[in-house]
Symmetry: C2
Subunit: 352 residues, 2 copies
């Protein structure tokens, strides 16, 4: 169905009409000038927002819209957990060009709702608009926490332990894999056209990813680490600083060290890697440690705890101590497998 | 200065480093995974969001970036007032292509900050990203209100009076004027190029708008009606329903009537118009009432009050009673100057 058959109001109504508000604190969701929320006495409110542009942040040639909805939500949920909070509400704005259908947006919303339901988050509003080119997604997530529980980037001490969850670099290798398969497919399309065949006569883009499922899952269906936040609370551990790993470990360490006014020393051999990540890096002739340091989109947590929490934090499944903070003058260091120390560099974003 | 000289983190730092947090409830602004806010006991939280796309919502050929920043903020502030709340915080995300400079973004932020300062709103976060084409802006505004003060769209009774603030249609006529001057200028450019002249040799786009300043101001520098919200509070009037006029009076009446399950009858002769709006409509051979009903971007308030509030509401400068609500079966009616009744139609948005 074409979107103009529904119009703006019709599309919003269609996408949001079955949304159930689960949280008693959500007093009014979609349908007025504002959503109305109430927070329990004594809790502070957390707000995070992300803007995702087609062609910059995602490629719809290989990202199904349902996965895109799921991942867009997860990226925001992850920021709430990175403050040691719990997600409560979300607003979702989309701008879309004519090539998208009502069914496309249903798929996107299905993914979004799946993620929100798993994390107890109500969809309470948003905006829907036309776009001249492609799809734009803007999500704002609202959470809450008791003030004494909130963890910032700036609280690390120079003797704290550095911990990461899960494993790193797999989402990035998943992206490399998808990009490689896409270029192979596009090359086939190109050759078919040169032979005078119609591109419709070619099979659709369905490469074989067997044995690489984990990499794809990490790229297409990341999971925000609610479980870790719950485990930390259960163990009575309040990290001294925390951030989620969206831009890569190096970049996040840079933020924590800069804001905490410390240096850090992490050990290459301790960086958690999955077997598939290592195999894929080898195959692509890339350094797997570089992928883990700079890859991004892992949505794991990086946090610091006092030395005295060593045993308790090590007992949590999926948490690994990878090094420790240092005095600021020592800088940000990676101790390689051969004992050589290297300076870590934060990778930024560049305008295209 | 080119944006890539600063990089993503540098640009964010540069644009936000001088932002002072004015509200005691803003515990943490830009610089962590989330902003942290606290609300006074007994207050509910209001959230609204807007997504603005270059080429759909604004044209940078005639909208200066400072005005764009100002107006983008105002559109969101207006939604908070439309709930009878007060704005407290704002997040601002931008995606921009290579053609924008650091100075461009400084201009945009200058306008944004001017609007926020005038309305007691702290800028607490956002996202900055690359875009393949043009500028995208996403703003989320957070406000608060005592629960008993919040006004929804759904509370109008079938005998309530319908009020609007300010005057309508001027922002739309300002847009028509800018579009006309732009097409004249582009025609001149085209002819100059055909004569073999370089377009740089032509004077820049600086048409003469004398006598039309009000229309331009309404289009380029709208003001959210904080003053009206304050005046209503002072008079002890709590509207039974309220909405801001962003899509046009017809469309907003449709929302209020649908959600309140009423009809309405408004009087053409009572719709507030500025003299310049009427002159410009005449000149462009347009029906001025149609412009006022469907024009949009006025950012005035439309609200309903009980009949008993007639005298008090009429005493507020800038508020005009334009009609009254009716039983739902009577529909949405406009009583024309000649006494003929016409059905109002809500205009939607169409995908481009």
């Amino acid at each position: 169905m074409e979107i103009q058959e529904l119009g703006e109001f019709g599309l919003i109504r269609h996408l949001t009409e079955n949304i159930e508000l689960k949280n008693a604190e959500t007093k009014k969701g979609v349908g007025d000038d504002c959503a109305v929320l109430e927070f329990e006495a004594g809790r502070q409110v957390l707000v995070t927002t992300d803007l995702l542009m087609e062609g910059v942040h995602f490629d719809l040639q290989y990202v199904p819209l349902k996965h895109l909805g799921y991942k867009s939500a997860m990226a925001n949920l992850s920021d709430i957990y990175a403050m040691n909070g719990r997600p409560r509400q979300m607003t979702v704005s989309i701008a879309l060009s004519k090539r998208f259908s009502v069914e496309d947006m249903e798929e996107f919303y299905a993914g979004l709702r799946l993620a929100c339901e798993a994390h107890g988050c109500d969809i309470v509003g948003g905006d829907t608009s036309a776009s001249l080119t492609g799809l734009t997604i803007s999500i704002t997530c609202i959470g809450d926490a008791r003030p004494e529980d909130i963890v910032f980037r700036h609280g690390a001490k120079d003797t704290d332990l550095i911990c990461v969850t899960g494993d790193l670099g797999a989402a990035y290798m998943g992206l490399q894999l998808l990009e490689r398969e896409k270029s192979v497919y596009n090359q086939q399309l190109h050759e078919a056209r040169q032979r005078g065949e119609k591109s419709e006569s070619l099979p659709p883009f369905q490469p074989d990813f067997s044995g690489r499922e984990y990499l794809l899952e990490r790229q297409l269906k990341p999971e925000a680490r609610k479980d870790i936040i719950e485990a930390l609370a259960k163990e009575g551990i309040r990290p001294t600083s925390m951030i989620d790993i969206s831009d890569g470990l190096s970049s996040e360490l840079y933020h924590i060290c800069t804001q905490s006014k410390t240096g850090c020393r992490i050990y290459e051999e301790r960086i958690p890697l999955d077997y598939q990540t290592a195999v894929m890096a080898e195959e692509m002739n890339m350094n797997v440690t570089t992928c883990a340091l700079n890859g991004g989109e892992d949505y794991e947590l990086l946090f610091t705890v006092p030395l005295t929490d060593h045993d308790r934090v090590s007992s949590i499944p999926g948490v690994k101590v990878i090094g420790h903070m240092t005095k600021p003058e020592q800088g940000l260091l990676l101790v390689c497998r051969d004992g050589v120390e290297m300076k870590l560099k934060a990778q930024g974003w560049k305008a295209t």
